[in-house]
């Protein structure tokens, strides 16, 4: 997997034992499928096919021809002759993550697309995931587990729980559904927490794949650096701890070492920054919704860091500025109110500012005891979205505010 999990107990023991017996499964060939039907590989493959079927019918996959068409084309450009073997799904999930299953199913979280600034960055992540697939990392992990006397049943159940969690359901829990996004990452982290060596290999070769496809290799270290900054800006104790703690999640030195290794490798590779026009156009209709999901987690520190970075990078300015204003209004620290007002004003200069920003501006003013300004913004909102789902509520606000401002 790409992010958020490094080591579970299982993997820790695998890494130790990987040195005792060879687990190298070689490299894949085009169109390769398990030959022996009762092999463990075939059973893994079968479980993944099932998980993929569940994912497909879950309603969790973003089913937009423009977006999937764009991502498919980029995957094909990087995967080359393996293109027909890989199927990509963009899934609604605010977590920064991607995963690749040994049957060719690639899952990309919306949270990753929200964070990627360019085609180059997305291309690096895709390259990284493809290496796990092409180099049979999942099978190697499985073989290592066997060498470690961890039974196939254990690995298989971890794997299927992991994939079910990643794809939206928890097996054996019936009605309960999946857990929270990190719990999800943890669960499939258990299945896909590759050893540090495999992660390094995926980083290095992923960078080569992206570079060979004409993408800028410097995007590799950049996306990790951005994630590190975001974790460090978090005002959620648990998240901050995650960036600092050893063990389960990446520690600073681990991320730092990863960034340094990537920087060194990128320096010797070819590739110029792509123009990201197609990338931006493909994600544009979704950015606002993905930001809403991110904001709902209420980690103002890391969300503002993410938003500031995106504003500085350019693109979707109206959407990101409006989101920044909204977060400032929610945080409401000293000076946040004025800053939020200015930011809404700046956002309004861009055509892509969502109409919802007028509603949020109305709410900001309503709470600040500015009825006239609030009523005006709410009215603009209803003019722009006359059939808004919350129109009745907003109308009531306007009526009350008009009374107050008279």
């Amino acid at each position: 997997m790409f992010a958020r999990s490094e080591l579970l107990m299982l993997t820790a023991s695998l890494a130790v034992l990987a040195g005792c017996a060879t687990t190298d499964q070689g490299t894949r060939t085009v169109g390769e499928r398990p030959q022996e039907l009762n092999s463990t590989e075939a059973s893994l493959w079968y479980r993944m096919d099932e998980a993929e079927e569940n994912l497909r019918s879950s309603g969790r996959v973003i089913d937009d021809p423009a977006l999937t068409g764009y991502v498919d084309a980029l995957v094909c450009r990087i995967a080359g002759e393996f293109c027909p073997d890989v199927r990509v799904y963009v899934v609604n999930n605010p977590g920064f993550n991607a995963m690749m299953a040994p049957n060719g199913m690639m899952v990309i979280n919306s949270g990753l697309l929200l964070r990627a600034e360019s085609e180059d960055e997305l291309g690096f992540v895709i390259g990284h995931e493809l290496v796990h697939y092409l180099e049979n990392h999942a099978l190697e992990q499985h073989a290592a587990a066997r060498n470690a006397n961890i039974t196939a049943a254990v690995v298989g159940s971890v794997l299927s729980i992991g994939v079910a969690a990643a794809t939206g359901g928890v097996p054996g829990q019936g009605y309960s559904g999946s857990g929270a996004s990190i719990a999800t990452a943890l669960a499939y982290g258990g299945a896909y927490a590759y050893s540090r060596e495999r992660e390094s290999e995926a980083d290095r070769m992923g960078l080569q794949l992206a570079s060979a496809a004409g993408l800028d290799p410097k995007a590799g270290p950049k996306i990790w650096n951005d994630l590190l900054n975001e974790l460090e800006a978090s005002d959620d104790n648990r998240r901050a701890a995650r960036a600092n703690r050893g063990g389960m999640f990446r520690t600073h030195p681990v991320i730092q070492a990863r960034i340094e290794a990537l920087e060194e490798e990128a320096a010797s590779m070819q590739g110029e920054p792509a123009d990201s026009i197609a990338f931006r156009a493909a994600v544009a209709p979704f950015i606002n919704d993905w930001l809403d999901a991110e904001i709902a987690l209420r980690d103002y520190g890391s969300t503002l860091q993410l938003i500031e970075r995106r504003i500085a990078a350019g693109g979707h300015e109206g959407v990101f500025l409006a989101a920044k204003a909204r977060v400032l209004g929610m945080r409401d620290d000293e000076g946040d109110f004025d800053h939020a007002l200015e930011t809404y004003e700046a956002a309004a200069a861009y055509a892509d500012m969502p109409a919802q920003a007028y509603r949020d501006l109305g709410e900001l003013n309503r709470r600040a005891g500015r009825p006239a300004e609030a009523a005006e913004a709410f009215t603009t909102y209803l003019q722009r979205v006359p059939d808004a789902r919350d129109a009745l509520l907003v109308e009531r606000y306007i009526q009350t505010l008009m009374g107050e401002s008279e």
Binding site: N54, S57, P94, G95, Y175, G177, D360, R389
Partner: protein, 191 residues
Amino acid sequence: MKRLGVLIGASLLASCAVVPTTAPAGQFETESQFSVNLPSDWSRWPSQINPATNGEYLTKDGMLLNRLHFITVADGGTIVRTFRDSEAPVFQADASEFELIELVTRSLEQVGYNSVEADDIRPAVIDGEDGLRFSVTGNWENGLNVRGDVAVVTLDDELNVILFMAPAMHYYGELQSEVDTIISSMDLAAN
């Protein structure tokens, strides 16, 4: 003596195994900061046996076919049950009504529902307090279309929620009016 033994056995059982029980028609004290009046019998799933969310459920025909969720969320709390390192939408006492709607729909999206949208959002007076009613639509994780009705009201920095969910076809309509009655009977403990 024998009878006493049975009683002791039963109370021991009650303390170590939590199982669904009957919630008979009439006044029902929820685990949350409110009570409701049930027009008919329901089966009750206490919070201890709900792995994905906080709060308790009532159901008629099984959790997948209809579920009535009662929960009071404290400032900084969540509807989704969080574990170590898990993230979920958070309630804050100063949240706007728009944010409360978002809290409910995003939380549902973390416990097995997808593409959840709020609709028919309307102000409502609940037990004398200014609250909010709305309906939700979405899909269960197997793709099934679901519908729901939500009532939320904040009192003393706590969010009280009644959330009804059922498959859109047949099951939702069958219980909609009973659920409406239940929501109308909401009696906030602090009042």
